[in-house]
């Protein structure tokens, strides 16, 4: 490619960029949301990393069924959190199974949060959740605060 063609390409791409900035720019509220994300930092909590996501794995091996159930698994050294997310007509139901933690689970979304009790067998349920980013916070039996990493559901 010669320099003139390169220049033409740059001009055309600039024109496309200018069009995209008119017809396909991120909405201002998203910019605000991105700025506000910093306030969601929790320095006090240990991060439970995502260990398994059925959406990223061999579907046949880990999918719970042929319906819209997604399985997510998070772990710290002392706590494990399994989440099943079921999608029915865009309304999400979250079922959790934890080990090494007790008390309440706080299901945190972009806007607001839901506090649900963890049963003696380690289960918790939260229904009617909107789509978007969520994480779950809870306390390990030794009192350590734990939060899962954020996931898009």
């Amino acid at each position: 490619m010669n320099a003139a063609m390169n220049k033409d390409d740059d001009v055309l791409l600039d024109r496309l960029r200018s069009i995209a900035s008119i017809v396909d720019d991120p909405p201002p509220w998203l910019d605000q949301a991105a700025r506000a994300a910093l306030s969601r930092r929790r320095l006090d909590a240990e991060l439970a990393e995502l260990m398994l996501d059925s959406d990223l794995s061999q579907a046949a091996l880990v999918r719970a069924g042929d319906d819209g159930v997604r399985l997510l698994s998070f772990e710290t050294a002392s706590v494990s959190v399994e989440l099943q997310i079921e999608d029915v007509s865009g309304q999400l139901t979250l079922r959790g199974l934890v080990s090494g933690a007790s008390g309440d689970a706080i299901v945190e979304m972009i806007s607001g949060s839901r506090v649900v009790p963890i049963s003696e067998h380690g289960w918790f349920v939260a229904g009617d959740l909107p789509r978007g980013a969520i994480r779950v916070r809870l306390h390990a039996i030794d009192g350590t605060a734990v939060t899962t990493s954020w996931v898009s559901v």
């Binding site: 960029r17 069009i19 008119i22 994300a37 930092r41 789509r131 980013a133 994480r135 996931v151």
Partner: protein, 195 residues
């Protein structure tokens, strides 16, 4: 531009909102462009962009080499996009939430209606007729500010050396689509449009 990333990340990590805002200002449009390039609708795009920023917040203390931040963001959102695409494929039409069908297939036609310049509108419609791979690459390249090829390579999981040649091929293809309509102005030469 990259040399101050370390300072910005360190400050943001210490809770400095102004430093964080600069990072958002610099990369939010790139993240948006990547997700739109993967053909996610605006609502899902907003979800994955927000998730990516939240993931960065929780990893502020773990960002390895600060100069790798753009690549980290690009890789993170690419994964989120691929997950979102899998989810949307899995949904049957009856289960598709309303906001996912807000944007019909003729969305580019509607987008084009926002443009005063009819030639720009026609160019944008022609862009929608390109092969998906070209739309993806060009949509990312048209982010503001223009991304470095290294960032584009991370976002699309392409070897960096293939980006320039692919860009050239895709733009040539776009020119072929619009040439007959005199969209690019003048005599079939590509410039002459507005600057």
């Amino acid at each position: 531009m990259e040399e101050d990333l370390e300072g910005l990340l360190t400050a943001a990590s210490a809770g400095d909102q102004a430093a964080w805002d600069i990072l958002v200002e610099r990369y939010n449009r790139l993240l948006w462009a990547i997700a739109r390039g993967y053909r996610l609708d605006p609502a899902t795009t907003a979800d994955v962009v927000q998730t990516t920023w939240l993931r960065l917040v929780e990893n502020l203390d773990r960002i390895f080499e600060p100069t790798r931040l753009p690549g980290w963001l690009a890789t993170t959102i690419r994964r989120e996009c691929l997950q979102a695409l899998r989810r949307s494929k899995r949904e049957t039409p009856a289960l598709t939430p309303e906001y996912l069908i807000d944007e019909p297939d003729n969305s580019r036609e509607l987008d084009a209606g926002l443009l005063d310049d009819e030639r720009d509108a026609a160019l944008w419609r022609a862009f929608g007729d390109l092969p998906e791979r070209c739309q993806l690459l060009l949509r990312v390249l048209m982010a503001t500010p223009p991304p470095a090829y290294a960032e584009v390579a991370e976002a699309l999981d392409m070897p960096v050396g293939t980006i320039g040649p692919t860009r050239a091929r895709c733009l040539t293809h776009l020119r072929r689509l619009v040439r007959k309509d005199d969209i690019l102005g003048g005599t079939g030469r590509e410039h002459g449009g507005r600057q």
